[in-house]
C-alpha cells in the first residue's frame, strides 16, 4: 500500500503531501503509511516540525483587512494555550444586614481560570478605580475550583515549559471590537514554586466602556512585535514588577539593534 502512495510523496509534491497530512486531508490508511515512510527521512520530519512552529504563530497572529490591505494583528481564540475570558460588566453584590436592609456594593475582585486550568486570573479593584491583574501559571498543575476559591492540583506527569507572555484583550461588547491590548511578562512566582506570575495595573475602563470582556491567553515573546507602539508603551507602563519592566527594556533594545 505504501508503494502505491509513494509516487504522490516524491520531492516535487512533498509539500502538497505534507499540507494534506497536516490539514487532515489524507485517509487514515494513507496517513499511517505516510508516517511510516516519513520517520526514516529526517528532512521530512524537519518539514513537519516547521509546520508545527508555523501553527504556533497562527494561534495568535492573523491578517486583518485595513482599508482593503491585509495587516498583521494579534488575536486570541480557544486554540491558544491558557485561553480564558472574564466579563467586565459591573456585577453588584448585596451585603445583607441583621435588620434585613441590604446595601448593594461592587465585588472587590473577579477571578477565573483558563479553559485548560493552567492560568488563574484575578482582577482586583483598587481604591482609585484602577484594576490590578494577576495571572498565575502552573507548570505542574491545574487550578480547580474549591468552594469560592481555587486550589492547585498537581499533575506531575504533564510538566510544561515556562510561559513567556500573557496577552490580554479588552473587547467592547457593544461593537465586538478590541478596545485595548496588553502584553505582560511572566516571572517566577516568589510565593508559589512551579508557578509563574504576570502582574499588570490596568486603568479603569468603565468610563469608556459599559460592557466589556477580558480575553487572555499565553503567547510567546514574538507576539510583542505585533503590538502597536502605543500598545507596547501602555503594556510597559502597566507592568507592576520591576523585572517585567526590565524585560521590556531588553526587548526594546533588541528590537532597535535588529
Amino acid at each position: 500500500m505504501m508503494r502505491e502512495h509513494e509516487a504522490a510523496w516524491h520531492e516535487d509534491a512533498l509539500d502538497t503531501a505534507l499540507y494534506r497530512y497536516v490539514h487532515g486531508l489524507m485517509s487514515s490508511e494513507e496517513r499511517a503509511a505516510f508516517e511510516v515512510w516519513m520517520v526514516d527521512r529526517p528532512e521530512v520530519v524537519a518539514r513537519l516540525a516547521a509546520w508545527g512552529r508555523a501553527r504556533r504563530a497562527t494561534r495568535y497572529l492573523r491578517m486583518r483587512l485595513v482599508d482593503g490591505v491585509p495587516r498583521p494583528e494579534l488575536y486570541l481564540s480557544p486554540a491558544v494555550e491558557g485561553y480564558g475570558t472574564l466579563e467586565l460588566t459591573p456585577t453588584p453584590t448585596a451585603n445583607r444586614y441583621a435588620a434585613g436592609a441590604a446595601r448593594r456594593t461592587q465585588r472587590p475582585f473577579l477571578q477565573t481560570t483558563s479553559a485548560d486550568g493552567r492560568v488563574l486570573l484575578t482582577l482586583r479593584a483598587e481604591p482609585n478605580g484602577d484594576w490590578q491583574l494577576t495571572a498565575r501559571y502552573a507548570t505542574e498543575g491545574r487550578w480547580e475550583p474549591h468552594g469560592e476559591d481555587y486550589v492547585l492540583v498537581q499533575t506531575p506527569l504533564e510538566p510544561l515549559v515556562a510561559p513567556q507572555c500573557l496577552l490580554c484583550l479588552i473587547v467592547n461588547l457593544d461593537s465586538d471590537a478590541v478596545h485595548r491590548r496588553y502584553l505582560a511578562w511572566f516571572m517566577p512566582d516568589p510565593d508559589a514554586p512551579d508557578c509563574y506570575v504576570a502582574r499588570l495595573r490596568l486603568p479603569d475602563w468603565h468610563s469608556e466602556l459599559c460592557f466589556a470582556r477580558l480575553l487572555f491567553g499565553v503567547v510567546d515573546a514574538d507576539a510583542a512585535r505585533w503590538l502597536s507602539d502605543a500598545e507596547r508603551r501602555a503594556s510597559r507602563d502597566a507592568a507592576l514588577d520591576p523585572s517585567a519592566q526590565q524585560r521590556w527594556q531588553e526587548w526594546e533594545q533588541r528590537a532597535t539593534n535588529r
Partner: protein, 232 residues
C-alpha cells in the same frame, strides 16, 4: 470510501483557494474571502520561513504575505490549472526566499551604518568557567547513542520523539499527528523508558559512554551503581 472522501476534501481545498484567488483578482471577493486568503498566505509563508530556518520567521512571513497580496491584486499571481496547488506552493516558497534575502540584505546595510551595542556586550568571555565546562562535556557520544537507540522505537514513538527533539511541545505534536494530548504523553513516556533502557544497556559494555552519562547527567547505569555499592 474514506480514500475517495479525502481526495474530494483535497480537491475542495484546492478549489476554494482557486476561487478566492480569482475573486480577489477580479475585485469581487467579500471581506471574509479576502481575509481567509490573506490568512492562508500567512500560514504558508510562516511554514516556509520556518523551513528556511529564518531567525525572524514571523517578520519574513508577514512581509512575504503582504507582497504576495500585492502580486494577486496586480494580476501577477493567479491560479494556473496546469500546475494547481503544487505550483502555487512553489511560488510562495520562492517568494519567502526572496523576502528573506531582501530582509537580511537590508539588515546588513543598517548594521554597517550603526554597529549595535549588543554585538560588543555579547562578545564571548574567555574566562567563562561554566561555558568551558559545558564545552568539555562529552555530548557527542551520548547524542550518537541516543540517535542509534531511536532507530529501535516503533514508527509512532520515533515520530513523536523526533518532533519533541525538534522543539515542539506535546500539545503541538498532538495537533500535528492527530493524537490526544494524553496519548502523546503516554507515547513519550514509553519511548523515553525504552531509550533509557537501550542507552543503559549499551553503557554496560561501553565504559566511555557510562563515564559520559555520569559526567553530563550525573546518572549511572543500574549495574554499575550496584558494583559501586558492593565495593563500598
Amino acid at each position: 470510501m474514506a480514500e475517495s472522501a479525502s481526495v474530494q476534501d483535497a480537491e475542495l481545498m484546492a478549489w476554494r483557494i482557486q476561487k478566492w484567488l480569482q475573486k480577489v483578482a477580479q475585485g469581487c471577493a467579500c471581506e471574509h474571502e479576502k481575509e481567509s486568503l490573506a490568512n492562508w498566505l500567512l500560514e504558508m509563508c510562516l511554514y516556509y520561513a520556518h523551513l528556511e530556518r529564518s531567525s525572524d520567521p514571523q517578520e519574513i512571513a508577514v512581509l512575504a504575505a503582504e507582497r504576495l497580496w500585492e502580486s494577486i491584486q496586480s494580476g501577477n499571481l493567479t491560479w494556473r490549472d496546469d500546475v494547481g496547488l503544487k505550483g502555487l506552493l512553489h511560488y510562495i516558497h520562492q517568494a519567502v526566499r526572496f523576502e528573506m534575502g531582501r530582509y537580511y540584505r537590508q539588515l546588513q546595510r543598517d548594521r554597517a551604518i550603526c554597529v549595535p551595542l549588543e554585538s560588543i556586550t555579547h562578545l564571548p568571555d574567555p574566562n567563562d568557567v561554566e561555558q568551558t565546562i559545558i564545552e568539555n562535556l562529552n555530548w557527542e557520544l551520548i547524542t550518537d547513542v541516543i540517535r542509534e537507540a531511536i532507530q529501535h522505537l516503533s514508527p509512532q514513538q520515533k515520530l513523536v520523539v523526533l518532533l519533541r527533539l525538534d522543539g515542539l511541545e506535546p500539545r503541538e505534536i498532538a495537533e500535528l499527528v492527530q493524537l490526544s494530548r494524553k496519548q502523546v504523553n503516554v507515547v513519550l513516556s514509553q519511548a523515553y523508558a525504552r531509550l533509557r533502557h537501550l542507552v543503559f544497556k549499551r553503557a554496560e559494555s561501553h565504559p566511555a559512554l557510562a563515564a559520559a552519562l555520569d559526567q553530563v547527567f550525573n546518572i549511572r547505569p543500574v549495574s554499575k551503581t550496584k558494583d559501586d555499592d558492593e565495593g563500598t
